[in-house]
């Protein structure tokens, strides 16, 4: 099990004494859960105890098995072996219906709501209570009003869900679970799509739920959140429980170490930027999506050689479309993109290949959707976007051995494991897949590097590595544009920070002046001056 953490109790049972209300059976107890998917052992002999009326955090890197464990608890998957106890009684949960009947509710990372329905309709969905809706809805209405009042979960129950903000939709998910009689609420990465202020509000709601005796299970990879609101925390690593510990007895450094299995550097060390000439100039850029909605609105900014410009914002505020327009994947509707002396506009559109020929590298936001071709061998994925390069093309035949050699060299330089260029791309872990993408884009020595969510779903060790590489690119005189929804990442890497809200740039903040309050308010659309005053 864990090599570090001498002060941490390594036996699951020991956590029982850490906190919780004496005398009561635990809300949830898991004993010896095993689950394999083909050759992957997602959970190995997992045992943990969740005290009634507590907030219990589960942390771990992607692929550590936390989502699998919760899916077993919620009845999506069946464990290969092991037992689940709810309120001290053995429970046989084989479907979400069973879980709901046992008083377990789940708020998914991706909401399960029907957009054109009202809040009320969404809440009664699946619990209509008869063929005619009117009666069930009336009952639900009074019950919902009670719940809203009790837990300060204010939502307009007649509003159409599609019109509501992400934070409100999450509240509806919580209401849905409570309406179905949940005593234990599982939240899977609940803050991923929230502004810091919205997250704070969520935590207040969770605290009041706890006051009322509900049990909360919080799955996250953000250690700060664990420290802020949990009573106990379970650290998972490689499908196993690395530690169960009372939150007050630990700190972020120790948790990070337990997650990774070694010491990690959480802060990025860098010198002040030495920017030189302007590489990218964007003026009056508008981008329209496939449905005709304007996603990027009159955006203008510059990126100079030798600096990292960060674009912060809550996911879905136009950053993706902006990045895709800059990369030549989407054509601008109007406005100009200037890369060195080349002008790109709706009239003079340039595709992704053309942009690469202008000296652009692009680490896409979603490596599954864009960065790699999963059924391809790693070496084939390592030339995606550069497959036409004469370096490994004869007149007709591709020179496979050269491609394999190139991939092997990149794997070595970026510490990709396993370093086998013939292995299928899908069979690498998230962090290693990301390193393959990052290696491909950085090793081309681009003048301008676009980076989207470089560390999403990447383990801490790889995050450290990728951050260091980005700083090295900057110090080598490259212009870097970084788009990330992780505020920590933006604040530690970017020299200048632009905040996007609803397709427009709200304002710019220098790294030295950036803090979470200011950025958080800007991410909610408040102008920088006003944000300063409020903060």
């Amino acid at each position: 099990m864990s090599e570090g953490g001498a002060s941490v109790s390594e036996r699951p049972e020991a956590a029982t004494a850490a906190s919780g209300r004496a005398g009561l059976p635990p809300a949830i107890e898991l004993r010896g859960i095993n689950k394999s998917f083909g050759p992957v052992r997602a959970n190995r002999d997992v045992s943990l105890v969740i005290q009634k009326g507590s907030i219990h955090g589960i942390v771990g890197e992607n692929g550590a098995g936390k989502s699998t464990l919760m899916s077993i608890l919620y009845g999506f998957y069946q464990a290969d072996s092991g037992e689940v106890f709810v309120d001290g009684r053995k429970a046989n949960i084989v479907s979400p219906d069973d879980a709901i009947a046992a008083g377990i509710g789940m708020v998914h990372q991706h909401f399960m709501l029907v957009d054109p329905f009202t809040v009320l309709e969404n809440v009664v969905l699946g619990a209509e209570g008869g063929a005619l809706l009117a009666e069930g809805k009336a009952k639900a209405r009074s019950e919902l009003q009670r719940l809203e009042h009790e837990y300060s979960l204010e939502v307009d129950i007649d509003a159409v869900v599609g019109d509501l903000s992400v934070g409100l939709r999450q509240r509806i998910e919580i209401l849905k679970a409570l309406y179905r009689g949940a005593e234990t609420l599982i939240l899977d990465e609940p803050t991923g799509v929230l502004t810091p202020q919205e997250a704070d509000h969520l935590f207040r709601i969770l605290a009041s739920l706890k006051e009322q005796g509900k049990t909360i299970v919080l799955i996250t990879h953000k250690l700060r959140e664990i420290m802020a609101i949990t009573d106990n925390v379970t650290v998972m690593r490689g499908g196993e429980v690395a530690a169960n510990v009372a939150t007050k007895d630990t700190d972020t450094e120790q948790l990070a170490e337990l997650m990774v299995g070694r010491k990690v550097l959480l802060r990025v060390e860098k010198t002040p930027a030495q920017p030189t000439e302007t590489v990218l100039t964007v003026t009056g850029l508008n981008v329209v999506d496939g449905a005709g909605v304007r996603r990027v609105k009159d955006v203008g900014f510059t990126v100079r050689a030798g600096e990292i410009v960060g674009i912060a914002g809550v996911a879905g505020n136009g950053q993706s479309e902006l990045l895709e327009a800059l990369a030549g994947i989407r054509q601008p509707a109007s406005g100009h993109i200037r890369v060195r002396d080349q002008d790109i506009s709706a009239e003079h559109a340039v595709d992704a290949r053309g942009m690469r020929e202008l000296g652009l590298g692009h680490v896409p936001e979603d490596r599954h959707r864009m960065g790699l071709v999963m059924p391809f061998a790693a070496n084939e994925s390592s030339i995606l976007g550069y497959h036409y390069d004469p370096a490994y093309n004869g007149r007709i035949i591709m020179e496979r051995q050269k491609i394999i050699d190139l991939c092997a060299a990149q794997m070595k330089a970026y510490d990709v494991r396993p370093d086998n260029p013939l292995l299928t791309s899908a069979n690498f872990s998230g962090g290693n897949q990301q390193k393959i993408v990052v290696a491909r884009e950085m090793e081309r020595n681009p003048d301008l590097l676009l980076v989207g969510q470089p560390t999403r779903g990447v383990d801490i060790g790889a995050i450290e590595f990728i951050h260091r590489r980005l700083i090295e690119m900057r110090d080598a005189g490259k212009a870097v544009l970084l788009v990330s929804v992780e505020l920590d990442e933006i604040m530690s890497l970017a020299d200048r920070i632009l905040v996007m809200f609803d397709g427009a740039i709200v304002g710019e903040v220098a790294q030295s002046e950036a803090n979470e309050q200011v950025l958080g308010l800007m991410m909610a659309g408040v102008s920088p001056d006003a944000a300063d005053e409020v903060a």
């Binding site: 050759p39 994947i329 595709d351 071709v373 999963m374 059924p375 084939e380 995606l384 036409y388």
Partner: protein
Amino acid sequence: MAGAAANTGVPRWVAVGLLPVINLLAAFLVSGLVILAIGENPLRALAILLNGAFGYQEGIGFTLYFTTNFIFTGLAVAVAFHCGLFNIGGEGQATLGGLGVGLVLLYLDFLPFVLILPVAIAAAVVFGAAWSYLPGLLQAKRGSHVVITTIMFNFIASALMVYLLSQILIKPGQMSPESREVAQHTWMPFMHDIFPIARSPWNGSFIVALLACAFLWVFVWHTRWGYEIRTVGANASAAVYAGISPSRNIILAMVISGGLAGMLGVNEIMGVNHRLILNFSAGYGFVGIAVSLMGRNHPVGIVLASLLFGALFQGGADLAFEIPKITREMVVFIQGLVILFAGALEYLFWPFLVAVFGREADTALAAAE
């Protein structure tokens, strides 16, 4: 298809070799039960079928003649499949390919054979490709699904052939919708003309088919154009990210697919019938789907699957002849079962194989790390 095998840890040979064999056995088992039910001996039927396909020179010749057709249509389905497209218009594209060959043989017969051969093959490819170009274009530019358009084009091709053969190309003074016989020097040589073997329809087109296999293998896996097609087929967003145009590659894949299907006309018109007739595509285009599926869209697999279906066609004909109770329809039924198990129910036994072989791979993977 490949996605189903990924991440289960099942060894490749099980997915590529064992699974098709199990599917085939299942088809034979059900066929055997049916033969038993009509009061015949399934083992005797199997013996006759095998003997009919491989037991004597003429039988082998017929088997390989059928195989040739299946290779062309199987390759056609495969190349479209690599681009994520389901071309079920092999029938129509083969019909047009045959028309192209027929026109060359009918009207350019002043040329010597050495010139006729490449021109006829080119005509087969161009006519077949032209017939798949429109569905490809409609898919790429307008999103009209190729499954719908290609099958519609089959009907158009069939109607076009009827019109041409009954009104224009028909040999004057006869009733049946056929063209005149083409000049003998334009015929594709039969194998029995070259080698001292029994007479059969097996002809030089078989060599053309094997060359087409080699072409496909090089094109799909060893050129940048094949790389682009596979990227579009596996992940269209990644293709756009890489600056690869999905619409251009959809059209390219469909054109190559149609061209390969069109080459069936070389075997049928130039090799065997020596005149333009109706319905020479005879369902080969549809069986090509099963061939490609069973052959895992790979040329080697397609040759093996084509051989299987060739043997079923030829052995089945002998079977219907030898045992009168097993009618022609019964043989089609057996072929249908093979297509059902190999194609539609391809993954019927997959969970079982995962359960048996998945674990072993677990330890192999762990050892590798």
